[in-house]
Symmetry: C2
Subunit: 607 residues, 2 copies
């Protein structure tokens, strides 16, 4: 792709300011999201990137008459600084001293009698609530039905037009009717008569389809409304062509994507609506009749979707066998290239490894694609937490360092997300010490027993403690939920210190969560060890119910990096038991030489 | 004391209803607290006990024309049920299904045109806020300047009249001026001009005195107001007699206890007031001019008081040496009476042990009394978490079981709170397993390193995990702050799951907190192991600042109860190192035979 010049961005901003003038808007806000507040977005929605050239995953802009400002977080300060060169756009480093929050900035930028504009379809209602509150009684108008970037973006990509497809109930073990009954029960608990859904994975889960509209996330652009007697899916006709008959047969009505706005305007205002203002766009909430009662809370689908059915868990176990075999083959490959001229001469790159791993995964009959952009990071790249190799950043796999692989796949049998860190050449004592500390954390978390009602922020320290004890830490969460052939990052549960998120959803049986402590030494190397785990019952007695985790991921740890003297007996036993499981579970799927290697590297470690 | 008959309580309620009629009050609320929302209260304030006979530490009453209702929590259901027999008072079991919250009950009990009465001096302002909010726009009057129980309580005890005394700065290492400067800095951060203080320990801390008004809590009934140029202590003249000169010399003005209400009414309404509505009584907040601006947050003294000075920490170390020696003597005594006829014939009771321990503690020159009512609990009594032996409950120390001692002392050099559980006779394997699990938790918490900013709810699982792993739990927090020659329970930090409290105050250097996991088997035995710890700096590097704990308590664990096979090498080493410390630190204070015994029981444990 031809790189856009900085002059071009200056021109675009000028053009946008003309549009602002024409629309009577003094301050224009460009969010980074799509109509559904998705984590990943399709190209159509990349307005901020079109306007600024900055293509990090987190960025929002405010354009005033005099200036243009872009907010992003610490992961992207360097990248944004570079990409914004010459554009005249001011980089606003989120969280840095003296840098205002975007809502405070907007408040201060607006004077009495002025107006704030944005595309209300791309802004969650709660953002509007915040701005509104900050402005207090100020005389400021909102213009929220304009897409000014769209007006100037002549070669804008089309909205995605992937076709949705049915995921048969035999894969998920729960029918639409059963899901609908549960959703309606939950609505009744809040005395709600109607649910407005706009999160794409929730809609796909509820109606039992998957889509092709967003890279890595098998979802389809759609909205949905559930009432006591109706279920309506709003999706473009062509997109719904292959699912229409099956859904109609289940009593689901399918209407055009945009028709939801008219339907909401025309709804019976006596109904009470359940709707989450943090994920519903402002155009949706503004379409509701003014006097309608609403309950602002997460959709009941969020928790229902997170608690996987027995069928889903059983399928996930199988998916992880295929996936573990593919991963084990790449681990074998990485060990075998040690010392070869090919490696030493720099002929094997990160992208080569990613491609090879993808080809192994793709051998599974039901492989549907990667679940996120693969991270294959050699040496110092491993210390960049969100690094992903691209043609621009790709480098040869280095010797005498570590390589970090954080990758995953979608299968009909579920979604995987796994990280292994491997030494190439001779690891240093520091590498072994830190790898073992990370492993201790991973094992402590996956093997703990905990009281029913426990939330992720309570468990986080189990993974972090071995690093804290040595004076190290990692600046990310310890675990996230994972969807079933859906988004690789899925709520509501997570495992984190709770500083950024409340970590407040208790674990429930069937929840699938990652366990991924790490440590990152800038300029040196990075380590992360990630397994996926499913929450299972453990003990029930007069002290209460206790849960624990079963590990789904099936791939060996790098024994070259384990300092056995740092492990307790319990930890050593846990690692040996896991390695035994891995061998017994996946070895039959491996080529003979890989199988023999796996047999060697999963033999019990001893003191 | 003669036991009051149930008929007498019925009469008291009738008399109260006459008072309600005279006062024009339809519903009367009797809280359980004093004017300062103290944890312990003096007899003057025991209105609920006078009215109902129920003497648990937690209880509130609502009296309507038709009925009388008493709320208490699960610890006291049995006791309340018994004590309320024949009184006609309905027991409201807090947290049980179908039992309304007291605020909901009050709301439902009031009809339009009716009035709610209570003594506004005994009710925190935030409770009034809650009731007011629940009532919405209902036409209900509040009568908050009546003490109807006081009207009928003919032989009511007097308000406590203990004399306050100066605690010299040499004990605390911080002058009044330094404290005042810090308080004023914090007030300035919130743009406040005035602080209204009503927590008795905060007032004692700030002005550098201690008192004699409440059992176990060395505080004096008082209020205080700090402005940019004045510091006023409101305390009865006689009570202040011994501190008046010293305080006046520091520029502190002393006024009568009740004068604060007039002073608040007459204050400059342009001043902005910092005041915590959860600990300030309604009479205080109602005295403020109607248009005065207030900031509702914890007083800055709370955090300042919690972070002990270097002098205080050094003194606490010394206090724990005296205290540990006393405790070690009782541990020796308990081991020596094993198998004796005296024990086997039931001639040694829980109260005997408590008395003997008190006599050992009292040998220290600067001993000021017990820091709370001692818990000495043999056998099944140990499973009652809040058990304390009284002449009514006292039993002989049993053989072949455990005895739990949770006791503490006040010294000029600080306050202690320590729990040891000891086997008498031959312990069972179950006792050893659970004792060792509790010990593992205690050691894991006291030895962890954690990132600056970490809150107690993050650390809680370290103490709880060894029990959870075995399917056990304890239904109380893991740690609480401890005052310096002040309240044995002190905020703002605590260590808990965060279900009941937010556990949201990060640890800071100098905070002193208890570490007290336990396990309780009703009808069998109870185990708790409690040490006090001070927060200390550990590591500072590019990953941040890391803190940890130094253990203050100096008394051996019961090696007869430790199953070494359950300990990791690190845990075994930690226990052995602690025992070595204990011996080296306190042995010179012990009588020869105790010293020899301590030498034996602190020898390294081996596998």
């Amino acid at each position: 792709m031809k790189r856009t010049t900085s002059e071009e961005y200056v021109k675009r901003l000028d053009a946008l300011r003309n549009e602002m003038l024409a629309a009577g808007t003094d301050v224009y806000y460009v969010p980074g999201g799509d109509f559904h507040m998705s984590e990943y977005i399709s190209d159509y929605f990349k307005c901020r990137e079109y306007l600024s050239g900055f293509d990090g995953s987190n960025g929002e802009m405010v354009i005033t008459k005099e200036g243009a400002f872009l907010w992003t977080d610490g992961r992207y300060f360097l990248q944004a600084d570079e990409q914004l060169q010459g554009t005249g756009i001011t980089l606003m480093k989120m969280g840095e001293p003296g840098v205002p929050k975007i809502s405070d900035f907007i408040k201060d930028a607006l004077h009495d009698g002025e107006s704030l504009g944005f595309d209300g379809r791309c802004v969650p209602a709660y953002f509007y609530d915040i701005i509104k509150k900050k402005l207090g009684g100020a005389d400021v108008a909102f213009v929220t039905d304009i897409d000014l970037v769209g007006n100037i973006w002549t070669d804008r990509p089309a909205l995605p037009s992937g076709k949705a497809w049915i995921l048969d109930d035999s894969y998920t073990g729960m029918s639409f009717d059963d899901k609908l009954t549960k959703v309606r029960e939950k609505l009744a608990e809040d005395e709600c008569d109607m649910l407005v859904l706009s999160s794409l994975d929730d809609i796909a889960w509820l109606f039992g389809f998957r889509g092709n509209d967003i890279d890595f996330n098998p979802v389809s652009l759609s909205y949905a409304v559930i009432t006591s007697d109706k279920s309506v899916l709003y999706m473009d006709e062509e997109k719904a062509a292959d699912i229409k008959d099956a859904l109609t047969a289940k009593g689901i009505e399918i209407k055009g994507y945009e028709e939801i706005f008219c339907d909401l305007k025309a709804m019976d205002p006596a109904l009470k609506v359940s709707l989450d203002r943090s994920v519903s766009n402002l155009k949706l909430t503004s379409s509701l009749p003014g006097n309608v009662k609403t309950v602002d809370k997460p959709s009941p689908t969020v928790l229902l979707k997170a608690c996987k059915t027995e069928t889903e868990v059983e399928n996930e176990r199988k998916a992880h066998i295929s996936d573990g075999a593919a991963l084990t083959r790449i681990l074998y490959y990485l060990k075998k290239i040690q010392g070869t001229p090919e490696l030493l001469e720099g002929k094997i790159t990160e992208l080569d490894v990613a491609e090879k791993l993808l080809s192994y995964r793709a051998e599974a009959d039901d492989f549907k694609g990667e679940s996120f952009a693969p991270i294959v990071a050699t040496g110092a790249h491993g210390a960049i937490i969100h690094y992903e190799p691209t043609p621009e950043t790709n480098v040869p796999v280095e010797n005498n360092t570590l390589i970090l692989l954080d990758t995953g796949g979608h299968y009909m049998r579920g979604t995987t997300d796994v990280t292994r860190t491997v030494s190439i050449g001779t690891p240093s004592e520091k590498m072994k010490k830190l790898y073992t500390a990370v492993l201790k954390g991973n094992v402590a978390l996956s093997h703990t027993v905990f009281k029913k009602g426990t939330v992720g922020r309570t468990l986080d320290i189990l993974a972090r403690k071995p690093l804290w004890d040595l004076g190290y830490d990692y600046n990310h969460g310890t675990g996230h939920g994972v969807g079933y052939l859906l988004n690789v990052h899925e709520g509501p549960q997570n495992i984190s210190t709770g500083v950024r998120t409340n970590g407040g959803t208790p674990f429930e049986i069937g929840m699938i969560t990652s366990d991924e402590p790490g440590v990152y030494l800038p300029g040196e190397f990075g380590i992360r060890t990630e397994n996926m785990m499913v929450c299972v019952p453990k003990i029930k007695n007069e002290f209460g119910e206790f849960y624990g985790f079963e590990t789904l991921t099936m791939a060996p740890f790098d024994r070259d990096l384990i300092d056995v003297s740092m492990l307790t007996n319990d930890e050593l036993e846990a690692v040996n038991r896991y390695h035994k499981d891995v061998y017994e579970t996946i070895s039959d799927l491996l080529p003979e030489e890989v199988k023999n290697w796996l047999c060697e590297v999963t033999k019990p470690l001893t003191r």
